[in-house]
């Protein structure tokens, strides 16, 4: 024991870190902040440390070359002992990190932590969110598979829409005229050097301010933040009623971080690593690229925006979002902290959560995409064919052969790009069906040039049978009048 003490003293005489460390770990914090709701910041940091460690381990094998990256991932998955597990830890760690950063942000927002004097802490936090998302996106690119390749294409297409400098921005992003070796190299440099450097810098500033200004106190309804009195009130909370950070608060941080590490390890063990999917060969086009989980909402949004609004919303929307986050502490730097007295703040969070959740859920099903192989792999249910005439069955064949099934479902099978056709005959008369098929419209291509008259006749005959047996199909009353009573069935 005395030897350890002596060695410790030897180092401390030179480093002189002992007393600042003691001061830091024992600094008083408001009693109520030793709470399970105050553990997300440290958990995010734990995830980041895990990402650094596993990232370095992956870099021992990974080759950042467009020609070799995919092969080196295969080696990691199958050729190196437990390489798959390190990959899985890194990718699950990434998902957990983004999730925890978001939860942390929601918590500090609802607890009013961005108010005076912690404006800069919040701003550093906003940058931390951005660089974390930057890590997630560039990391997805380094998993250099089909999704990464076409994901880069989507990124380039968005960058190209910037007025005036768009084409330049694309070249700078790709490092050349196409997605190729230089593209992967620069995303490697971003993911491994530039963005982690920024992350470490922002984490440092963020943590320093948390220590210097103290952790945000537990908000009480009615306890109003005022610039001229707050510091004094906070001093009371910490020095008169406070508790030392170690051990009163820190044990919850440590336990939760351990729980998160265990969860990441279990997910990695059970679900394994993500991909890589197919080779990044641009001539293999049988692919439906999808972004990773945390960008799925954007994928959904891009299919729902009207074409004319898409470019402005894509380019201006993120800028507005970031500016709102950065300006927030300046417009609401004082006042009520408790979420119980801030209904608009709570509603904003709920609205954003519901919107992102809905878009993410939709992106998991992609109802806007044609089911590319429905015409050849999903037969028309037999109930739509039984008891039909030869012409109607011929129409069902046209329905499959002309790939109508890729966009229209029958009995919940097939694409959802267009409306389900189970009851189409209830809504459209024969003439309207012919018109819709031949001329298209309402986001449907016109098939006039692709269908012979006999095919159209057969197809429409089939479509006319698509209605519940108990309901009569739509009919054109004026047609009955024009053709005379003999042509149509008499009214009851």
């Amino acid at each position: 024991m005395r030897l350890i003490q002596k060695v410790g003293d030897w180092f401390d005489l030179r480093l002189q870190l002992g007393s600042p460390i003691r001061e830091t770990v024992q600094h008083p914090v408001p009693r109520e902040t030793a709470s399970w709701l105050y553990v997300f910041g440290s958990a995010a940091l734990t995830c980041f440390v895990l990402q650094i460690v596993t990232g370095i381990l992956l870099a021992l094998i990974y080759v950042p070359s467009a020609g070799e990256a995919w092969n080196s991932l295969q080696i990691l998955n199958h050729g190196i002992s437990l390489g798959w597990f390190i990959r899985a830890l890194h990718s699950w760690g990434s998902n957990f990190m983004v999730a925890i950063v978001l939860i942390h942000m929601v918590q500090v927002f609802l607890f009013g932590a961005y108010k005076f004097p912690r404006e800069l802490t919040w701003i550093a936090g906003v940058f931390l969110l951005l660089v974390t998302l930057g890590m997630a996106f560039t990391g997805q690119v380094l998993r250099f598979d089909q999704d990464a390749y076409w994901g880069l294409g989507i990124g380039a297409s968005i960058a190209s829409r910037v007025p005036v400098i768009g084409p330049w921005a694309v070249k700078l992003m790709l490092g050349g005229p196409i997605i190729a070796g230089t593209t992967l190299s620069r995303f490697f440099a971003l993911h491994v050097f530039v963005i982690p450097g920024l992350l470490i810098a922002f984490v440092g500033v963020h943590l320093l301010m948390v220590l210097k200004l103290g952790i945000n106190e537990w908000p009480m309804p009615g306890r109003i933040v005022r610039r001229d009195t707050y510091l004094e009130e906070y001093r009371d909370l910490t020095h008169k009623q406070g508790v030392p950070f170690v051990p009163n608060a820190v044990w919850k941080d440590i336990l939760f971080s351990g729980f998160i590490l265990l969860s990441i390890a279990l997910c990695a063990l059970y679900f394994g690593p993500f991909g890589p999917s197919g080779q990044p060969d641009p001539t293999i086009i049988q692919t439906a690229p999808r972004p990773d989980f945390f960008f799925l909402w954007l994928y959904a949004l891009l299919s729902f925006l009207p074409p004319s609004a898409e470019t402005p919303i894509l380019l201006i929307g993120p800028a507005i979002g970031i500016i709102v986050l950065l300006v927030l502490p300046f417009v609401a730097g004082e006042g009520e902290k408790s979420w119980k007295r801030r209904p608009i703040a709570v509603l904003t969070i709920l609205l954003i959560a519901v919107a992102l959740g809905t878009l993410t859920r939709l992106a998991e099903h992609t109802p806007w995409s044609p089911v590319m192989d429905a015409w050849s792999s999903q037969p028309i249910p037999s109930k739509f064919l039984q008891g039909r005439t030869a012409l109607e069955r011929r129409g069902a064949l046209v329905f499959q052969a002309k790939q109508c099934h890729n966009c229209h479902s029958l009995d919940d099978r097939g694409g959802q790009r267009g409306p389900a056709l189970d009851g189409v005959a209830l809504h459209l008369t024969e003439d309207q069906l012919v018109h819709q098929v031949i001329q298209g419209g309402g986001n449907m291509p016109a098939y006039g040039k692709n269908l012979s008259p006999s095919e159209t006749t057969a197809l429409v005959a089939f479509l006319k049978t698509l209605h519940p047996a108990s309901q009569t199909p739509a009919r054109d009353a004026s047609r009955a009048a024009a053709l005379g009573a003999s042509e149509v069935s008499p009214r009851p």
Partner: protein, 181 residues
């Protein structure tokens, strides 16, 4: 020499030192910025596009649309398969051709050709195009990007070398003439 003078001389030396560092910093910044902008500078000096062969005309029967691929003219040794680029070739009537970029005009995903319904469909956000590349439905604002082509010694040549994007489609580039057949 008074103390004040000594202080001001030191202050002046500090300023001089800072100035020298600033000058060298700027001198270093020029090549660094130029290095970073090299993809843009390369384009402005030489351009990326050149005429490339897609192979003999016999590969593209009249009235059909076929997938073709070419090696991008600007490649590095380590590009691997990413240096290969696919495109759709439509032989309109044996005389006239159309060569479409593989990239959807919406966000660049690879469109697929459906010969039965004569449509190109995009798997990402559901854009669809007619056989002549015109927009049929979905989020794209325009038709498919089309390469310039010419026929030489029984071979189909296209002018390509850059990924077409909504901001820089192939056919709309300034200073280029329309299709020569």
């Amino acid at each position: 020499m008074s103390v004040d003078n000594g202080m001001s001389r030191r202050a002046m030396l500090v300023k001089l030192g800072l100035l020298l560092n600033a000058i060298f910093g700027v001198l270093l910044a020029v090549p660094i910025v130029r290095y970073l902008l090299s993809p843009v500078i390369r384009e402005r000096k030489f351009g990326y596009d050149s005429w490339l062969s897609l192979g003999g005309l016999e590969q593209f029967p009249a009235g059909q649309t076929r997938l073709a691929a070419y090696k991008n003219p600007v490649v590095n040794a380590w590009d691997g398969e990413t240096g290969d680029v696919a495109c759709w070739v439509r032989n309109v009537d044996g005389q006239k051709f159309q060569v479409f970029a593989i990239n959807c005009a919406h966000l660049g995903c690879p469109v697929r050709w459906f010969a039965q319904s004569n449509l190109f469909m995009c798997p990402c956000h559901g854009g669809a195009y007619y056989q002549d590349g015109a927009r049929a439905s979905g989020p794209p604002e325009r038709g498919l990007f089309e390469y310039h082509y010419r026929i030489e010694d029984g071979k189909l040549l296209i002018r390509a070398g850059e990924m077409p994007t909504p901001g820089q489609p192939v056919a709309n580039k300034a200073g280029e003439k329309t299709t020569c057949a």
